[in-house]
């Protein structure tokens, strides 16, 4: 199997689908000749032409709204937000038009919105956000967040084929740092969680870049055997997998790169507190970014984003509980 980066895997998924299905096309700012701010669609315009690799005006509401229009006509647009942060400018079209369409009138909206997200490289308050929780709280949107190259390709393929609007959270910090074996051809990865590492004494629940932080923080702990559960999908949320891990391990750390309040991690913790309370041998510990904008300067940014040591400390403390 070829080895590729997380970024290449994303490109690969789109390329495969565009080759196989005329209805699939990509649209966004600077994705054509330029190949996208992160070069995810590099070379696409040569293979597929400017119609199917559409440079749009600088207008996120239009990108999403027009994608919805194309989708109800049977196209399968993949929209790129240049940074996930800019989805705030297309928020209304996503949560009110795209999300509610099927429930309200039985009309399916097959759009995929790619959201390059996350911090860790001095992007500052507007290029570092993890906006997924807003959309978890907007019924009608599916949301996935891969942590590996293999899952990036498989989840994106599933997303493109899914008849519903799917937000694809791709973590910028993983683009080139994460590599892995990725099967050629198209394959679908289900919207379910995945045990990234088996363990018995404590489970760290995470998704996206934080899966790697979790794995690194718990790789060689003497204090106990730590499981890492990679959620992969936030909507639908794989509640069975979460509850199974908690049942097995009895101790949980929920890890989130997003701001803590009302984050995906809050939902996971609330779920556990309600449905796995009897299985718990300690509090549901959360590690997340405090409720502030992501600051620019490295010293400040590192102080707010969850670091390997933060996770290690939380895990150790809970194991010793």
């Amino acid at each position: 199997m070829p080895r590729m980066t997380y970024l290449q895997a994303i490109s690969d998924a789109m390329r495969e689908e565009m080759r196989a299905d005329e209805r699939v096309f990509v649209m966004g700012e600077d994705i054509g000749a330029f190949g996208g701010a992160f070069k995810v669609t590099d070379g696409f315009i040569d293979e597929f032409g400017a119609d199917r690799v559409m440079d749009t005006p600088l207008a996120e509401s239009a990108i999403i709204g027009c994608a919805v229009g194309a989708a109800v006509e049977g196209m399968r647009p993949i929209c790129e937000m240049q940074f996930s942060d800019f989805v705030s400018c297309g928020f209304d079209q996503l949560v009110n038009v795209a999300a509610k369409m099927y429930y309200r009138q039985g009309l399916s909206v097959n759009i995929t919105v790619r959201l390059p997200s996350g911090g860790g490289f001095s992007g500052g308050p507007f290029h570092s956000q993890n906006p997924e929780a807003w959309f978890m709280h907007a019924p009608g949107l599916k949301i996935v967040a891969p942590s590996t190259a293999e899952d990036a390709k498989g989840l994106l393929t599933t997303a493109i084929r899914d008849p519903n609007p799917v937000l694809f959270m791709e973590h910028k910090h993983l683009y080139r740092r994460v590599k892995g074996e990725v099967a050629g051809g198209a394959y679908e990865t289900p919207f379910t969680a995945r045990v990234a590492r088996e363990g018995t004494d404590l489970v760290v629940i995470a998704y996206g870049a934080m899966v790697h932080t979790a794995l690194e923080a718990t790789a060689d702990l003497d204090e106990g055997s730590v499981e890492v559960l990679d959620l992969r999908s936030l909507v639908p949320l794989d509640e069975d997998a979460i509850l199974a891990s908690v049942r097995k391990c009895s101790k949980v750390v929920v890890l989130d790169e997003a701001n803590a309040t009302c984050a995906a991690g809050a939902q996971v913790a609330a779920l556990i507190a309600e449905r796995a309370w009897e299985d718990l041998d300690g509090p549901v510990v959360r590690v997340a970014t405090p409720d502030v904008p992501i600051p620019f300067s490295p010293t400040l940014e590192q102080a707010v984003l969850p670091q390997v040591d933060d996770v290690k400390e939380a895990v150790r403390e809970l194991l010793g509980y």
Binding site: F25, D51, R52, T56, P57, A59, S61, A62, I64, G65, C66, A67, V68, G69, A70, A71, V72, E73, G74, M75, D92, Q93, N96, V97, K100, M101, Y102, Y103, R104, Q105, G106, L107, S108, N110, P139, G140, K142, P163, N164
Partner: protein, 342 residues
Amino acid sequence: MASTETAPAEVSAHLTAEDRVGLLRAMLLMRGIEERAMTLYRQGKVPGSFYDGYGQEAVSAGAAWAMAPQDRLCILHRDLAAHLIRGVTPARIFAQYMGRAGGVTGGREGNVHFGDRKLGCVGMVSMLPDMMLVATGMAMAFKLRGEARCAITWFGDGSTSRGDFHEAMNWAGVQRLPVIFVLENNQYAYSTPTTAQFAVSPVERAAAYGFPGVQVDGNDAEAMFEATRQARERGLAGEGATLIEAVTMRMHGHAAHDDMKYVPAEQVEEWRAKDPIDRQVRRVEELGVDVDALREEVRAEIDAGVEEALAMPMPDGATARDQLFADQEALLSDGRGPWSGF
């Protein structure tokens, strides 16, 4: 700036006598349905609020008449005639208003928030004018696939102030898309007069987006038809979008609860003399058609629709959580396009 104020004689070249009667029929049906619905509302049978398009019937009837079965429509809240022309039955509309299981949205949505996807319509959302972008996106799909089809949407004078108006106009202009924007200028946005909404009529903006803006007497169904027909021809010919400003007047309050005290009485009187149905009645009577019989026929259809709708059950609460997500694609299909020219 291109701008037409076309007299009826000039605009009817593309309409047969049957078309003209059809237009009148659609308008009578719209007015009759909305009047009856208002009564049902007062009787407590219509939950939520209730909006109508009294006095604006020509805007949706005239424009929708020009659209072909394979065209696509995003119909707004004062445009019931467009739904009727596409083929939605009165019974389903009454059921929609009353939140019954047999309504167009099965009770999930209320009042005018509907569209029958099987008739090529996408139901509006409340956020105005979001549907302009959806219509633009449908037109984009037509262009990408090289299909000779158009999308159309309506929106009010107030709606022109939102960012989505601009993003849609600009996108349609830069990509030369076959989309028709019908600006329904009924002088008010809820209580707000157009003077608080814009300094210059938005029809003037079209040129700055690279396509024509046309001002039309919105109380003349045939003028609306003709302007829309021409806009559609432009779209099909690859010449891009058109903005049609339909100048009309909202003759009722914003919604059922609104007594419209903020509108000067003279303004209402002035516009009452321009009633779009009266105008079309005169034309159709000149053709020798028995309009009283037509009215009777329409009334009977409405009576039957109300009865049918009242017999429908309310939706089952147990289904409220179902079908948030689609298991498979469920897309638009074609509606009716009754114009004799197709």
